[in-house]
């Protein structure tokens, strides 16, 4: 029998912005603890919130073994490591003052716009996994997440777009410069370049263009034959430059997953060749896959593999080199699109910009984009830039050639 404790602590302060002014200041400290018991190939779990309740939760976890939730794998063990990254988060007072200073600058330089934010956040996120098989992992990550929505005062939309960053460092001037590039470009309407098929760039964190892989590379679906990619492991399906991998630390996630697997860099697709699906230990064991280190879990839930940490390998070229003097489209906001079950892709783009030499130079009309997964990640794949979109975050430029039409 192995006993394991999974602890998640969120210590966060946030400021909400409405009508270009701070509206509220919120503090949050939530501790969640899960207790897991592995015995006779089964897993029993329970949990509690706050500081008290461990004894009862342990009893409930033991009782939960009677449900016979199979876990035919050894729990992770014999590993001790801790990693603390990021600086000090803002105090409530400091974050309140910083948001006020940002808004003062934005109101002065861009009076044409109304700004809002669901939450400008700064916090420390602690995750620990320890058991009596020698596992003792601790991750403490401090992170800032600044999201501002903007709309022209004359606009009848809920919002016209956003600028944001998530990262461990903060510099007011750098953030304001990023905002200014976006807002200045938004103020200058430009026509869509002719051609129909155009180079189109997204932030590489954009889930929309990767959601087909999230859907089709799930280990259970893949192993059961229900995936578009089932039976194609080892086949060259995509562009040579397309490598899709598990990236935890660059995405500000703990270095271990919810099962204690450390597999940063695990490759799903390598140089266009399909390598493996994402799988938790139980699914991996069922189909003889390798665990991908991407299991997630609520504090009191069975770990299961998730797809939210898929990253595309960046190339040696900067965005400027990728464009080679050509204009391109940058999609800042594309909501509501999807891939069909056969891999066809379509989406409206609600906020799009003209991109020249790596800079946003004007606002394009609302667009419709379309392609297929094999074209986007095959002959039409342009890759991910070596340089970041803005210095404070890890997001880079991700490009494809797509069919582009005015909405």
């Amino acid at each position: 029998m192995t006993k394991e404790t999974y602890t998640l602590i969120k210590d966060e302060v946030s400021v909400k912005v409405s009508a270009s002014a701070p509206e509220s200041l919120r503090t949050k400290r939530i501790k969640r603890t899960g207790l897991r018991i592995y015995r006779d190939g089964c897993l029993g779990i329970s949990g509690y919130l706050g500081e008290t309740g461990a004894e009862d939760a342990l009893k409930r976890a033991e009782a939960a073994l009677a449900y016979k939730i199979a876990y035919p794998c050894r729990p992770s063990g014999d590993m001790k490591r801790s990693l603390t990254i990021g600086g000090k988060p803002f105090t409530p007072e400091a974050l309140d003052a910083e948001v006020a200073a940002l808004l003062a600058a934005l109101r002065k330089d861009f009076p044409q716009f109304v700004f809002s934010s669901p939450a400008v956040k700064s916090g420390t996120y602690t995750e620990a996994l320890a058991n009596d098989a020698g596992l003792d992992l601790l991750s403490v990550i401090s992170l800032h997440e600044f999201v501002f929505l903007y709309k022209l005062a004359s606009s009848s939309s809920i919002m016209d777009g956003w600028f944001a960053y998530g990262g461990q460092d903060y510099d007011r001037q750098v953030f304001l410069a990023h905002a200014a590039e976006t807002l200045n470009a938004y103020l200058k309407e430009v026509p869509l370049p002719a051609g129909g098929r155009l180079p189109v760039f997204f932030e590489d964190s954009e889930g929309l263009v990767k959601q087909l892989f999230a859907r089709e590379l799930g280990g259970m679906t893949f192993g059961s034959g229900g995936s578009l990619f089932s039976g194609k492991a080892g086949q060259k399906l995509f562009n040579d430059n397309f490598t899709l991998f598990n990236s935890r630390q660059e995405d500000y996630l703990p270095f271990f997953d919810a099962e204690g697997v450390c597999a940063d860099g695990f490759k799903y697709i390598e140089n266009g060749v399909l390598r493996a699906p994402y799988a938790d230990k139980k699914t991996a064991a069922k189909f003889s896959f390798a665990p991908s280190g991407s299991a997630g879990a609520a504090y009191d839930a069975t770990p299961s593999a998730g797809a939210d940490i898929m990253k595309i390998q960046s190339q040696a070229k900067t965005i400027k080199e990728m464009l080679g003097g050509q204009s391109a489209v940058f999609i800042s906001m594309a909501s509501g699109g999807d891939f069909t079950s056969e891999g066809g892709f379509g989406t409206p783009a609600q906020a799009a910009f003209l991109l020249k030499d790596g800079k946003l130079t004007g606002r394009l009309p609302q667009l419709q984009l379309s392609s297929t997964v094999y074209e986007m990640y095959g002959k039409d794949f342009l890759g991910v830039s070596s340089d970041k979109i803005m210095p404070l975050s890890n997001n880079r430029w991700l490009g494809f050639v797509l069919d582009v039409r005015k909405l």
């Binding site: 509206e23 509220s24 503090t27 004359s154 259970m220 409206p348 379309s370």
Partner: protein, 444 residues
Amino acid sequence: MYKFPEDLYSDVRIEKVRSTFIHYLKGELREMRERGTAGAFIRVFDGGRWYYSSLTALDKVQEELDRLAKLAAPLKDIAENKVVKNMASGGETSEFKGKDLRALPLAEKNAFLVSFFPAVTAVSAVTMWSASYSDTFTRRELYNSKGAQLVNEQQLCGLRLGMTFTENGHTFTEGAQKAGGEFSDLAGFKEELDKRIAESLAFLRKSVRVKPGKYTVVLSPLAAGVFAHESFGHKSEADFMLGDETMKKEWQIGRQLGPDFLHIADDGARPGSGFTPFDDEGAPARKTWLIKDGKLAGRLHSAVTAASLGEEPTGNARAVSFEFEPIVRMTTTHFEAGNMTKEELFSGVKDGLFIDTIKHGSGMSTFTIAPSLAYFIKDGKIAGPAQVSVISGSVFETFGLIDGISDKVELLSFVGGGCGKMEQHPLPVGFGGPYVRVRGMSVL
């Protein structure tokens, strides 16, 4: 009881939740848990700013209330503030009076879920499937500095089955689900599951990719509900209008948006996943007409937005959990019955599409719906399954393009998902409606 700080408005929301979750992947048990949680959300308002805190240590609520009060600037006449005037006072209790699922053994809930497995395993084309049962019993207590003491209990339960169908190198993923306030609301799920399996197999074998363009589209009650929710409901949430003169002009009550037979309402008193007898500021549920006779008729409010726009709170200040502040959210949003029968609606389409089920939807100035089961309509008849990536349109323009609404309303409840807004997801909501016909919708 709490000692509320003087010369400030403050409230404390205590939330206690008991939930069950059972989950199978391809017939293999992955999750079976009963969870009990408790937490508190505290708000202090000084007439200008709000100060919030969420915590799980209920014995520390008073301490936290006092800490927040020190951040605020006391105001002598806070009681005269328009926002504070909109806050609840007095005591009221809305207790759950049905069959309490906390008393039903886990084994019975599991057996009920497992009873549907043979319908799925009998189909060889189903290569992957998942099944889940969930129920939630929530008790919210609200105490505020105006003396309010409100208790609100709610229960929601439901089933979901997700299936991936594979044949001859083609795949298609669909699901079936049913939800309601009581176990008895889940009756009839087997028939719905069988029907969905048959429809999915036909779609897998016969569907054809639609040619992008403009089409007349008939929306099912589900799709129409998503359309009402995404295209219009979110824009009716008045927090988007605060300090925004353009939006206020655009949303002038009485503005003609569509035909006379177009009506949309939000109603927190409707049973189901959007049921909200009191909102998280204590405002009682009511039916709010958003569109009546084709004209803009109202909007959804919290105490803050109602005060700002000089209107009444509508019972729509909702928080997804004790970790968050209440913001303006929908409850059950739907089209009302319209001007023709379903048969008349379809017969008027020469060359169009019928959107039956959906994968997801989104709404801003342009709304989108990603259909799942969709069909061609030729000369008023269903003419085979159609693969559609997304349908979209401008919110206001699309209302003007509605030319038919059927005469029966079907409201739907959901578990395992919900509405997302800002950082708060998933909030249980209900939607549905009649069948709705729209001309000239953009289809990809």
